[in-house]
Subunit: 344 residues, 2 copies
Amino acid sequence: MKIGQATIKDIARELNLSASTISRALKDYPGISDETKKKVKEVAEKLNYRPNAIALSLRKSRSYTIGVIIPEVVHFFFSTVISGIEEVAFSRGYNVILTQTNEKLEREKSSINTMLSNQIDGFMISFSKETSDFDHFSQLLEQNYPIVFFDRVPDLDGAVNVIVDDYQGAYDATKHLIEQGYNTIAHLAGPKNLKICIERERGYRDALKAHQMPIREEFILECADGTPEHSKEITRKLIANFADKPDAIFANNDMVAAGAMMACKEAGLRIPEDVGIVGFSDWQICTLVDPSLSSVYQPGFQIGSKATELLLDMIEKKISADQIQSPVVLNTKLIMRKSSKKRE
Amino acid sequence: MKIGQATIKDIARELNLSASTISRALKDYPGISDETKKKVKEVAEKLNYRPNAIALSLRKSRSYTIGVIIPEVVHFFFSTVISGIEEVAFSRGYNVILTQTNEKLEREKSSINTMLSNQIDGFMISFSKETSDFDHFSQLLEQNYPIVFFDRVPDLDGAVNVIVDDYQGAYDATKHLIEQGYNTIAHLAGPKNLKICIERERGYRDALKAHQMPIREEFILECADGTPEHSKEITRKLIANFADKPDAIFANNDMVAAGAMMACKEAGLRIPEDVGIVGFSDWQICTLVDPSLSSVYQPGFQIGSKATELLLDMIEKKISADQIQSPVVLNTKLIMRKSSKKRE
DNA sequence: AAGGCTTATTCAAACGTTTGCAATAAAATC
DNA sequence: GATTTTATTGCAAACGTTTGAATAAGCCTT
């Protein structure tokens, strides 16, 4: 920090007034004459006075800062969420302190600790893939720290969770493929320890059931790391090993879908004529691949903004956690593009 | 913040010692008996003591927090840079406070102000597209605030800038197209107020010159907003209006390249046989589009980490700004993929 | 036994604010 | 002219920590 930044005391000295008077004058408290207010403000301006938020925090035991903990920043979905968080936080006068865990539990815990040390007013958390027990979260909840979980959320009493309707999204996607006339729909699933992935798989299964289609376990393949390379690999095998090939693929996310798409093209299969493909998340890549990829839109920005609204309301005691019926579920939306449109 | 968080005073009361002793004991200062140290640490543990970083900041006039100001979070390049920043900051014990300007100058200024209020130890800035004069930066520099600019950097005395060798990257890309036997290379340029874009265009021009190829101004088109839609539009016209069409395109970034690719396919042109395309940045999409897109890799993570290293070194007075020869230029790397490989 | 070192601890001020209460002075009331 | 009211300002403590200087006790030295 810069030495010589003007403080209230400097203004006080300059005007031969006390610090308390300056403080009140700057804040337009009643009981300060208009004349002094004016003078104080002039001098403040002249000295380029800037209130010291740290001192204020210490005094008020409030930092006007929220801590955001996410698995990774370089991720279309999460960066979109951050954007929503940042937007609301900024407009309500809060700072955002950000850390990424790189999917490491240890880092998650240590981030929580530094943030606690930094007296942040509340947490926004989407936990890492490594996180399987939630004790470190329970502790925070017990101590009444305001927390909102989003996307990857724990099953904890009293936790406020903001999620997307993964089940419905997956259901819609699968239903859409069925309605387009595809008969054997495979699913490239995500890691089983993430609820969101389980929900997507559940939506997929339920849609099949609802349309009296058999669920074939050999066509549900886990593509845990979610990279296009891995998915390409898996899809290759899927195509090669089965005489009776699937004619559609519902993928757990868009990267996986893109990988599957590459494998299909490589095998000489036409999309959407021979194989229909639907992804999940509706990333930018959907409109850039050829053919354009149908996908389930997740309102990332809204997740961020909604979650932040809730958190700030909790912090400012406008509402308490138990007044919020959790989880808050935001709607997904199926975006149909070429990759799944067999029929006109 | 949670009420009832244990403080040094609480430990002091419990052990009938003074606050100063506790402080020193916790920090293993000499002059405290081993016995007391032990007792203090036990009690600290028991009470779940956590140092109050805010109080520390006030005392030390140091917040161990750096402020990051970027145009937008939802952007592959910037999110990668953030990741690099976060990594280094975390490992050196600093917090990262993040704001995005959404390309608005006003927001840039106001972010600087809140960060100043929050006594951050230094700034990392990539400025907005609206920013054309740099007075608000000069002021900070004059007051000796540590700042490192990255990617979009101002021309200011005493500023430490970290950038990528855009010129060389563009030169390499263009040279590559020439060597592949393309004869008429168009350039889809970026907004002229960003130095990075001007540099890329300059690299393109110089590569043409160096190979005795004519520079045709009608084939240098500004695609200012950088969206694939816009670029598709422009490329369509480029193809339609000229009898003597370009047979290659060097785009200012990958999105623009992807848009151009779509327009070419639409017009029935084969890539890379009829048209060669090279983008810039090497985003994820490069491997997902068909054919895969050649591009110039920008080391985003390294920009972030290098810039942060420099900033923290400045903050910790290991080096001063004038000892750093600015700009620090990181190398780009041409990644050749299918979209530009006419020859084997 | 008095002075001088060590060792262990405490005191008090400081960082920049805010805020309940007290103090002062001027003005208004009777 | 004495008393109350009103308007304006100041005092001092507090938030949690660090740190230079001061203190107190114990031990050694001569």
